[in-house]
Subunit: 341 residues, 2 copies
């Protein structure tokens, strides 16, 4: 009797083929005295015929032989997070892993609770999506909760970097990408530049610092550094800018495309021509950027590449290899209609 | 010794408090002879002090006492799906359930494989997100795979309806909402109306039929029924329309907002004024609709409401109540700048 349903034969398949419960298969694995010898022989024969190899976890607990990866992100409805979740889930499932999803929210305590909950669930690895789980300082004690998690299960971070054992990180060089883009913006003649953010994360800080560094090189300072407080609020971003008295800028560098879309709506409401009067750059190369009129110039933050690096890390690590440290992908400006350089 | 970490005390908490492995807790639950009597007494005392009630599943397998809900959607990166996944995960976690996520793709066989895989994983309930899992006919044998799943675990469908035992469905009245919107479009003087779709699902068919019914009432027919084949391809939708010879329409009813955004880009490329020359209605009330210029009129497909109905169904069902059948939420047009009625 052979399982036709797929490549990975797990404890459920064996139970189905043998016509017994999973609990019985578990008892056979543990050589429990509560299973008839005839049943034991039959279940073991089916295991052998189907090449079933119980994992340590299965042997111990009679549990699913599939590995489970915990995916944690602040908000699975956010465009960037949603794309990462979809990409990771697809790649990991292709490798035979299940994905347990947990949306933590953005708060520090909420992040801690989510990480420790999934560690207690005994996932085989943990992927933290977004820089909200990191700290500006990779050695900060503030992120000791991640090091504690990593002491129990391998941790993989997408666009965040925490230094520690059993922690692998893949990040976009948000500082360099922002520095390069704003340097070009300045070279095109814009000197009154605004930085626009919603939620302050490590990644937001790197973008802000890159922006400031480009201005400093030209002997300039930021004309404004505005945080609208809530993510993905396009019209609220527009209104926030409209309510600012004396806002006089000719370049806006936004930490994501929704913010940049709000900036474009501000420009329209003010009667400003884009990019002539106001040049705008977004971040993440999302579908929103294609919807905008003119289409938004935006920084490709290499999300698909980061996901691939994470999956490769996971395959190596769960295959028994030691991995760790940080891999950096280079972000770059995609030029559309809101810039003229 | 009392657990401070949260409301639900599960097997992991007991293991941590007792300073033993989960396997040991499991063995205590099963009264295994392989655990010292002193350890058994201690673990049982901690269970009693913390009000730990092992589920049948835990007792049998020593597994996690948390219930696990399988969420299946075609593509977690799609805006509509992402919002449903995020909303369901948050609500279900608040009820103490874990979410296992599986992205199936849109193919019929892929959907079958995903459903049967999660059933074999012994999830406590299955939520199918999107009408791709349903059939135009709720009694069709084509969706027997869902009835087979429902024979093993409760099935909940978001915007799809399959008639069967142990299946609960929450749907938007896509036919009625489309009929009403297109009726208004016709009353505003538009008689050359195009229906625009990407992937054909049950929901797409209902929108198409509603659109056709509105036209039939006015003695009209569709001016065109176009499927662009791929989801979320805004510029490809524009190009597809631009390549059509002799396209002469003054109203476009699109099955989602990305398609409608593509239609607006087509109008711009053709030099058509919106809504004067071309009136456009999208579907799903997404962030894309806010980005468009003018802002897109779009049908609110009541996604948050459907998610809430599903969660209420799950709470009742896993609380031991019998539930089933279909709940319908009424969709309605949100009027923005691409309509003038």
């Amino acid at each position: 009797m052979r399982w036709e349903g797929g490549v990975v034969v797990n404890i459920y398949d064996i139970a189905e083929l043998a016509g017994v419960s999973i609990a019985t298969v578990s008892r056979v694995l543990n050589d429990s005295p509560n299973v008839a010898e005839g049943t034991k022989l039959r279940v073991r024969r089916i295991m052998g015929e189907n090449g079933y190899i119980p994992s340590g976890f299965s042997r111990g607990l009679g549990l699913n032989a599939m590995k489970t990866i915990g995916l944690i992100c602040p908000d699975a409805a956010d465009d960037y997070m949603a794309k990462a979740v979809a990409c990771l889930e697809r790649s990991l499932r292709n490798c035979g892993y299940d994905c347990l999803l947990c949306c933590s929210g953005y708060g520090y305590e909420d992040c801690q609770i989510a990480v420790s909950a999934l560690v207690r669930h005994r996932v085989d690895a943990l992927v933290l999506i977004g820089s909200v789980y990191a700290d500006d300082d990779p050695d900060s004690e503030r992120v000791n909760y991640i090091r504690e998690a990593a002491a129990q299960t391998p941790v993989f971070m997408l666009n965040g970097y925490v230094r520690g054992d059993n922690i692998c990180c893949a990040v976009c060089d948000d500082y360099d990408a922002s520095l390069a883009a704003v340097t070009e913006m300045i070279a095109s003649g814009r000197r009154k530049i605004l930085f626009l953010a919603d939620i302050d994360t490590v990644s937001t800080n790197l973008k802000r610092k890159g922006c400031r560094a480009a201005l400093a090189k030209a002997g300039l300072e930021l004309c404004g550094d505005i945080s609208v407080g809530l993510a993905n609020q396009i019209n609220q971003t527009r209104d926030h800018l409209l309510e600012l008295p004396d806002l006089d800028v000719n370049g806006i560098f936004a930490a994501n495309d929704a913010l940049a879309a709000g900036a474009l709506k501000y420009a329209k409401a003010r009667g400003l021509s884009v990019p002539e009067d106001l040049c705008v750059i977004g971040y993440n190369n999302s579908e929103l950027s294609v919807c905008c009129d003119p289409e938004l110039s935006t920084i490709d933050s290499r999300e698909q590449r980061l996901c691939q690096i994470i999956v490769d890390f996971i395959k190596l690590r769960l295959g028994g290899k030691q991995v760790g440290g940080k891999v950096v992908a280079k972000g770059y400006l995609i030029r559309h209609g809101t810039t003229d350089f």
